[in-house]
């Protein structure tokens, strides 16, 4: 396959960046969830 | 309208700090209310909220019949806030400052020299603010509030930084305001100075009105 280095770096940067961001979101979410009482954790609700 | 000020359960935040923590207050038109309390009680925030400058996190407030949350511009245009900051441009003269604020408030017709006379600042009209003393700047600031002809006066520590003559000027101004039928709220540590003029005393602590008493009711509408 031609351009293999470009292909790996192109796909690689996307997959790695998205995975890192996804894990960081999960980490942030875990840390924050612990600080909010269970009755306020209803997902996808509006509070206006 | 019956009440010049009607505040119910107001919460106002300074960043995340509840400077007002569910404060309620009703003031009739034409009254003079002394707001007293320790430093950090929320006096300044109360006055700023009444001026339409501090957003309500919770509760409601009407000032002169306008809702502070939905009609802040009308509130601001009808009140006169004298704050510890002089709100004057240092590089302009007293007269230029006064005429600028009069134009912005839509009061081009005001006699600026008369307003300066009232605070004994007429001789300094053409001096730049930067050349004046603290006391002189405060007097000029008072004149700026006066030319707005506010229906609600919000005076935050009006006597601070003034000499005896300056304090008399402030008192004279409060009397003028009462005579013109305006409502006055004075936040002050100088109880002796304001008490004789006040019709009501509101004691603020911990972001709420702790005690509200009527004193000297006869002075109202004098």
């Amino acid at each position: 396959m031609d351009y293999l280095g470009y292909l790996i770096s192109g796909w690689g940067v996307v997959l790695v960046a998205v995975a890192v961001y996804a894990f960081s979101l999960l980490r942030r979410g875990r840390a924050l969830t612990a600080r909010v009482p269970a009755d306020r954790r209803r997902w996808m609700t509006t509070d206006d | 309208m019956d009440h010049a000020v009607d505040v119910h359960d107001a919460v106002v935040l300074l960043d995340r700090f509840p400077a007002l923590a569910g404060l309620s207050l009703k003031l009739r038109a034409g009254t003079v209310t002394l707001v007293q309390g320790p430093n950090g009680a929320g006096k300044t925030t109360l006055l700023r909220m009444l001026a339409g400058l501090a957003p309500l996190e919770r509760g409601r407030a009407t000032v002169l019949g306008y809702d502070v949350a939905t009609e802040p511009r009308l509130v601001r245009a009808s009140v006169g806030l004298l704050s510890p900051q002089t709100m004057l441009y240092d590089d302009l003269t007293i007269a230029e400052n006064l005429s600028f604020w009069a134009t912005l408030a839509g009061h081009d017709d005001v006699d600026l020299m008369a307003a300066l006379e009232r605070v004994s600042m007429a001789p300094f009209a053409d001096q730049q603010v930067v050349t004046l003393s603290t006391g002189q700047r405060r007097r000029a600031a008072i004149a700026v509030v006066a030319i707005r002809r506010p229906r609600l006066w919000l005076l935050d520590e009006p006597h601070a930084g003034l000499d005896q003559a300056g304090r008399d000027v402030v008192d004279g101004l409060i009397e003028d305001a009462i005579a013109a039928g305006a409502t006055v709220v004075v936040a002050s540590h100088e109880l002796d100075r304001v008490r004789p003029l006040a019709t009501h005393v509101a004691t603020v602590a911990g972001g709420i009105v702790h005690r509200f008493e009527t004193v000297n009711a006869g002075a109202s509408g004098a």
Binding site: V36 | R16, G37
Partner: protein, 279 residues
């Protein structure tokens, strides 16, 4: 991400919805990789020079496999920033916390994907255009400016702690950023009056069915990934909002509790202040 998803009993921003989305995304990604690298052929079309065709004489060969990720990532970028604009309008219109949260989440995810769009585009450009970067290419320039504008937007959000002020002001910044995009596009278009980008690849009849399918399938997969990220990021914003309000309740109670304590000192305190005549 699967480890976290498989343990929903741990208190987290995960839910059944994100579990399904996450698993679907991972499966989709695996299938997309197979399509992109195994099932599709290298681009070996031969073009004849013509007014309506690219000046390319031959196809891109295997480099086309980069477009299977570049194209979906770019789509997600534009969808994210569109969502940010919609959220900004809703905030200014209705002062909605929900939309502010959505706008913030979309901007953050959007900046990530915008950066990836630029990176993959650049990596594709090196073998095909023979350069990492081409000044004057309309879409490259527009995307770069978009990236910079929204980095500024995210930085601006961080400068404000009052959530209400932050919502309104950042809505203004986001909207003006959005208004700029067509202007930037048009001005760069005039600037160089040329573009190196693939003009309407999808509409080109010579694109193979399988290539087309892989492109569209990639879009679907990345939309699922985008949705997963958005839901989690939204919930983080939501939780932050909740910690603020929880903190507020406590702060109000604490402040009011000080009242009676403060008032006993207050009388003496204010009297002594009166004597010194200072605040």
């Amino acid at each position: 991400m699967s480890t976290a998803l498989s343990r929903p009993h741990v208190a987290s921003t995960s839910s059944k919805l994100t579990l399904v989305l996450g698993v679907a995304s991972l499966l989709g990604l695996a299938v997309l990789l197979v399509f992109s690298f195994v099932l599709t052929d290298p681009d070996q079309r031969v073009f004849e020079r013509g007014a309506d065709l690219e000046p390319l004489l031959t196809g891109q060969g295997d480099a086309v496999r980069l477009l299977y990720v570049h194209f979906p990532v770019a789509m997600v970028t534009y969808i994210a920033f569109t969502l940010n604009a919609i959220g900004s309008i809703a905030v200014l219109w209705k002062k909605s916390t929900w939309w502010d949260n959505t706008a913030a989440a979309a901007a953050e995810v959007g900046v990530l994907f915008c950066g990836l769009t630029l990176a993959t585009g650049s990596i594709w450009g090196r073998p095909i255009w023979n350069t990492w970067w081409k000044w004057g290419d309309v879409r490259l320039m527009t995307t770069t400016i978009l990236f910079l504008i929204f980095i500024g937007y995210l930085a601006y959000r961080r400068t404000m702690s009052d959530s209400r002020v932050r919502a309104k002001r950042s809505a203004v910044v986001g909207l003006i950023g959005a208004i700029n995009i067509p202007i930037v596009y048009k001005s760069v278009d005039w600037w160089q009056n040329r573009t190196l980008h693939q003009q309407s690849t999808l509409r080109n009849r010579s694109v193979e069915d399988l290539t087309l399918f892989t492109m569209i399938f990639g879009m679907v997969v990345f939309m699922a990934i985008f949705a997963w990220l958005m839901v989690h990021r939204f919930r983080i914003g939501w939780l932050e909002h909740q910690t603020e309000t929880v903190g507020l309740e406590a702060a109000i109670i604490e402040r009011r509790a000080q009242t009676s304590a403060a008032i006993s000192d207050a009388v003496t305190d204010s009297r002594s202040s009166a004597e010194t005549g200072s605040d």
